[in-house]
Amino acid sequence: MSAVRGNRAGRMALNAAAYAVTVFLLLPTLIIAPMSVGPERYLRFPPAGFSTRWYTEYFQDEEWVRATLFSLEAGVIAAVCATVVGTMLALALVRGRLPGKGLVELLVIGPVIVPHIALAVAMFLVFEQLRLTGSLLGFAMAHTVLALPFVVFTVLAALYRFDVELERAALSCGAGSFRTFRYVTLPLIAPGLVSAALFAFIISFDEAVVSFFISDLDRKTLPRKMFEDIDYNISPTLAAVATMLTALTIAALLLGYLLKRGLERRARATAAQED
């Protein structure tokens, strides 16, 4: 009896600890939201009133808006490029006979293992010589490479989960490699591709270290602009930006989840129909 009671006390303590850690994880970020609607010049919790002043300031500041648009542009390009390039590579790894496969796999995890500061400084050195600093092309390439490992792993997981018999059936019915990919493989791995693209976009949009080095005065991403502002003055405009970014992340995660579920459901329905 006492052992059971001891267990229950232990379990309750563990549960309490787990939820305390959850609060620790979420609170620092979420506490910014109420503070961002305070009317005062310096942040206070709880806020002394309600005002959208700092949000207005963000939307009226040309530099903030320009940095945001630039980040969006770079993020979309990087997401598309990383998804296309990563999917091609994943196909080569799973369905192909790739010479030097071990080396290629090493290159895939490279950008994850190598600290971003090392990559950032190295890219800065080379990009300056190639006149790529502060260019959309430079950001797109850098962010594509940073996002690629996540895309490749997501697509690999989708390809491994996939029933290869379906491809074999298409091939034996006379469809070529490309038609098999277009009409059988692609629709079935589509949920994986959607989440891969979404990951890639978030990675690019949030990327701070490489952006810090390859930005220039006129063309900088949102994280670089935030970095500068945090370093020089902790203005409440930043709190507004941080709140909007957190809301955007929540929206993106929800959207990704719903899209993936929808696509999976459709794929299952199609498969059932054809049975």
Partner: protein, 289 residues
């Protein structure tokens, strides 16, 4: 990269080596230009400018200022890893024993920070810890302190903020290892008379070890090279190696020395990765969302 389908299933038609290479070509080209070439150029700078030399590497160890930065980097990374492990364990354990809504809520609490900008989370810590920040405001209002304490730009602040930022990388691998332990195992151990502690030590810990190693390695590696959080929360007083590299490049324009510092960091990271090769499992972070 696990769980390949049995080879015979693939049978039939696989892409030819030439077609495979064509599919991999854009990747190889990009990685060559944006990954291999820059790192090679930087390391070349550290070893062959002005002539072949190890002087830049020697300097990092000879000058006490730089040696102190490197030691601080390792020390902070160790503290961050330990703190993250202590915080991650209960959360990962409860997650592994939850289902349905409870699991969804806990998972959301881990995934949301993982995908929230590091800058947003670092900024949050600065707002909390600065001189007239939230923590000082609350402590003062509660009458615990008379005047604001200096919290920002201390080593403790750096460790706390970094552990917060890196925590998801510890929780996810431990969770996936714990999830794989059938509840029967712990029940069986307890029915055979094992105490809670003995069950933990003899059953749970050995089975969780791969996840723990993987999480610790991931957090330690990321902490060693971390730039944003230490640069902002630690300031120049708590300089870590990444901030030093940045300073050498942006203020001193000393590329060979910056290259040497990067070389040392890379060497450290590569050795650790090779030693714990099996522990690096990226798929755990991708599959979970």
């Amino acid at each position: 990269m696990s769980q390949r389908p049995p080879r015979f299933l693939l049978g039939g038609r696989r892409y030819s080596p030439a077609a495979s290479l064509l599919l991999a070509a854009p990747f190889l080209l990009l990685v060559a230009v944006v990954f291999v070439l820059p790192l090679a150029t930087l390391l070349h700078e550290s070893l062959f400018v002005p002539g072949p030399t190890m002087a830049h590497y020697a300097r990092a160890f000879d000058e006490p200022v730089y040696l102190r930065v490197m030691l601080r980097t390792v020390r902070i990374a160790v503290f961050v890893t330990v703190l993250a492990l202590l915080l991650a364990w209960p959360l990962a354990w409860v997650m592994s024993r939850s289902r349905g809504l409870g699991l969804a809520l806990l998972a959301a609490a881990v995934l949301l920070p993982l995908w929230t900008s590091v800058l947003v989370r670092t900024y949050a810590w600065m707002v909390l810890l600065q001189r007239n920040g939230v923590v000082n405001q609350l402590l003062e209002r509660a009458g615990l302190i008379d005047e604001p304490m200096r919290l920002l730009y201390t080593e403790g602040a750096v460790v706390l903020a970094m552990a917060h930022v890196l925590l998801p990388f510890m929780v996810l691998p431990i969770y996936s290892a714990l999830k794989g332990i059938p509840e029967d195992y712990t029940r069986a151990a307890q029915m055979l008379g094992a105490s809670a502690w003995a069950t933990f030590r003899e059953v749970i810990w050995p089975l969780a070890l791969p996840g723990v190693t993987s999480g610790c390695l991931m957090v330690f590696l990321l902490a060693l090279g971390f730039f944003v959080t230490p640069a902002l929360v630690g300031g120049p007083q708590q300089m870590m190696i990444a901030t030093l590299v940045s300073q050498q490049v942006r203020e001193m324009l000393d590329w060979p020395f910056a290259g040497a510092l990067v070389g040392i960091l890379l060497g450290f990271v590569l050795v650790l990765t090779l030693v714990f090769k099996r522990a690096v499992r990226l798929d755990r972070f991708v599959g979970s969302a």
